[in-house]
Symmetry: C2
Subunit: 130 residues, 2 copies
């Protein structure tokens, strides 16, 4: 259908999906989003304190899984992946809500990102306050 | 990098991106998500009343835009696309929060979806309540 093009990459102390927090509010560390110089213009208007949704490509995930044990708890019944936040799914797009701590050129320092080091970033959007 | 594979398609009375609501809470109609039979197992655990995040591929969007007038208001200064919810962006992934009204096999009836008819669906995730 459509080819995703990375706009940047996650730089984090987290390196192992098995031990990384499952959600950003579960003790995820601060991390950097190192964005491509080619998308610098797209960052205009992002400031410290902003809350952003970061979409990533979970490159370590499996795309052939339709049922999983929620939260890797093998004692729990399996469920369809679309009723879980499992990374394993047909299109493993990660959805992360973070706070911007600092903007340094095309590098964003963010709070609370559970994606591992080297995860491709594919989009950033502001959190909406309806 | 990675090829997105549609898992289904939006069926909606909305057909024109220019006149569709910009966000689901801005008067978007009920719509159907017609999912592929091949992903049926992945829907296990989704029930009426659930709130879901629907990720779509905004196929009518432009991928070469890095600055836009927010909300198409040409009197407003241009801003970087990543500080807006513009559909035009390097990876035009749409992010929509909906309520499930009914589940009919691999068809989900949902409330409040501003995506236009024929928009490919690429992922579904539960809304988390931290």
């Amino acid at each position: 259908m459509a080819e995703l093009r990375p706009i940047g990459v996650v730089e984090s102390v987290l390196t192992d999906p098995a031990t990384a927090p499952k959600q950003g509010h579960e003790g995820a560390p601060d991390a950097w989003l190192a964005l491509e110089p080619g998308v610098a213009e797209g960052l205009d208007g992002i400031h410290p304190g902003d809350r952003l949704i970061v979409l990533t490509w979970l490159h370590a995930a499996r795309r052939d899984m339709l049922r999983v044990h929620p939260r890797d708890d093998t004692s729990a019944p399996m469920r369809g992946v679309f009723s879980t936040r499992s990374a394993d799914r047909p299109n493993p797009i990660g959805l992360h809500e973070v706070e911007v701590l600092a903007v340094d050129g095309t590098r964003l320092h963010v709070r609370g990102l559970e994606a591992i080091d080297g995860t491709p970033v594919v989009d950033l959007k502001p959190v909406l306050q309806p």
